[in-house]
């Protein structure tokens, strides 16, 4: 291990960690809604992001559309993509044991991953936009502009989803259906439709993530494997369905990755991230922010 790194390295690591954390928070908002709030299991969430990334990639690379304008396409597309997948696969077995849902969505993830492999090959794809070179210097620390935009996007998206859940009738219907589906039905809420809406929205946020990430990230058929696991880690850390917690959880994991990478050699930092996750699951399953329930 290498402990004699300079202050500059550390401050850069922290800055990058915050940027990465914003990214992790952004991709995890959807899962917070789907799994955290609605308790729907979707192990293909990472592959949904992969779909969003590819869509954004093609719009930018082939359609020559500005990445931030692709949002107009990626978000609605992912909304209906999510609804389609939900209707065809998850919804019929929503009442089956949890394990069946896990297996089914793992199957979906295998399908999406390998379809992408067949159609787009295993090559790493990325786009070159004028944004890529925009950097902001704060003392010795360098921050890339697209990453900063993604961080802002993550904050805004978190607030938007929070506002939606808190203040609109549809948002409250989603929370009510999750907390007590029977009572929700008895209050005149069409619960199956509410599930569909929640899943669609959770998927749509990944369209947004795809568009915001593509200027500085890459895409590849297996890009969702690691990022999908990160989403689950962030949601658990954030405390299942807590949107603010999700943001904090994203930052924690982002910092763990970059600071870890400065300390541990090679990709061992990943092990550090996983360890944080397992320790949290065992000792503080209610997440970073929530108080322990008695």
């Amino acid at each position: 291990m290498n402990f004699n790194f300079s202050g500059a390295v550390l401050s850069q690591a922290i800055a990058s960690g915050i940027m990465l954390g914003g990214l992790f928070a952004l991709i995890s908002i959807g899962l917070t809604l789907i799994w955290g709030v609605m308790k729907i299991i979707n192990f293909a969430q990472g592959e949904f992001l992969m779909v969003g990334l590819y869509l954004a990639y093609f719009l930018v690379a082939w359609g020559h559309i500005d990445p931030y304008i692709t949002i107009l396409v990626t978000v609605p597309f992912m909304f209906f993509f999510g609804i389609g997948i939900f209707r065809a696969t998850i919804s019929p077995i929503l009442k089956d044991p949890v394990m069946n849902q896990i297996m089914l969505t793992l199957g979906v993830s295998l399908i999406l991953q390998n379809l992408a492999l067949m159609l787009f090959s295993a090559n790493v794809q990325s786009v070159h936009t004028r944004y890529a070179t925009w950097n902001i210097h704060i003392g010795p620390v360098v921050i890339s502009a697209p990453q900063l935009i993604a961080l802002f996007g993550s904050v805004i998206c978190t607030l938007a989803v929070w506002y939606f859940l808190k203040t609109t009738d549809s948002g409250r219907a989603i929370r009510a259906s999750a907390q007590n589906p029977t009572a929700a039905t008895l209050m005149g809420i069409d619960v199956p439709r509410t599930y569909l809406l929640a899943f669609g929205l959770g998927s749509a946020t990944l369209g947004l993530a795809g568009s915001l990430m593509i200027p500085f990230y890459y895409t590849q058929p297996t890009v969702g494997v690691f990022l999908g696991l990160i989403m689950f880690i962030v949601v658990v850390l954030g405390g299942m369905g807590n949107l603010v917690g999700c943001f904090v959880g994203g930052l924690v994991i982002g910092l763990a990755e970059t600071v870890g990478a400065a300390v541990f050699p090679g990709s061992l930092a990943r092990v550090f991230t996983f360890s944080i996750f397992i320790i949290f699951l065992l000792f503080r399953p209610q997440g970073v922010l929530s108080k322990r329930q008695t």
Binding site: R172, A173, R175, Q179, N180, A183, L186, M187, G188
Partner: protein, 243 residues
């Protein structure tokens, strides 16, 4: 207003309701009493669409409720206050009430309904911003009733509102039920608490193992010795238990 005809509900082999008919007239409180497992909750759930009957009809004025989904029945004005409250535990009192009035018809009357509910339950106004699960049992029951009222019901189905509450709170709850009737609401009330229920009921049915064994005005049923028998098993005890 509500008329249940020859309804049969089966859980597997078990007949929870076996050819039961009841009628609820407009502006009445109709009580259904009976011991645990007599089929009272099944009755309520069959009306509100949560359980689909094997045979028989449930008519609400001119609509056949057995053909409608549960949430559509609520929108039509038949609203249940479920057993054990079933609040949305992590939402505030105010949010619980808002969820109650989320469908179109109720949304139009949302502000009047709020006024009505807060006049009936001033205590809920004070607790507006508290999370539902932190409230006492009695207060939670009030939220459940208030939440149902928010969806502009024409008939209210109440399933054991006194369950697990202290005697003084039970009194309060029954007073509210009577008040609601006086405001013109129709109520179907299912209860284990026989005395209270029958005292306020205009008409009542006694259920035993899925069948109506007695019916009449609340007063008549209360005075009938068979009512007690259905509960404590006193009359039956005199027979030899062997078969």
């Amino acid at each position: 207003m509500l008329s249940v005809k020859n309804i049969v509900v089966k859980y597997g082999m078990f007949r929870a309701l076996d050819d039961v008919s009841i009628d609820v007239g407009e502006g009445q409180i109709v009580g259904i009493v009976g011991a645990n497992g007599a089929g009272k909750s099944t009755m309520i759930n069959a009306v509100s669409g949560m359980t689909k009957p094997t045979s028989g009809t449930v008519m609400f004025e001119d609509t056949d409720l057995t053909k409608m989904s549960a949430h559509a029945i609520v929108r039509a004005g038949v609203v249940q206050v479920p057993e054990g409250r079933r609040l949305f535990p992590d939402m505030t009192v105010y949010e619980n009430l808002l969820v109650g009035s989320a469908h179109k018809r109720a949304k139009a009357e949302r502000s009047e309904n709020f006024d009505k509910v807060f006049t009936l339950f001033p205590r809920l106004k004070e607790r507006e911003t508290q999370v539902a699960r932190t409230l006492s049992g009695g207060e939670q029951q009030m939220i459940a009733v208030a939440r149902a009222l928010m969806s502009s019901p024409r008939i209210l189905l109440m399933d054991e509102p006194s369950l697990g509450l202290a005697p003084i709170v039970i009194q309060e709850i029954f007073m509210v039920v009577r008040q609601l009737r006086d405001l013109g609401l129709t109520i179907l009330l299912v209860e284990q608490n026989v005395h209270h229920c029958l005292q306020i009921s205009d008409y009542a049915y006694v259920l035993e193992t899925g069948q109506v064994v007695l019916e009449g005005t609340g007063h008549d049923v209360l005075e009938n010795p068979m009512t007690k028998a259905a509960y404590l098993g006193m009359a039956v005890q005199e027979e030899p238990a062997s078969n």
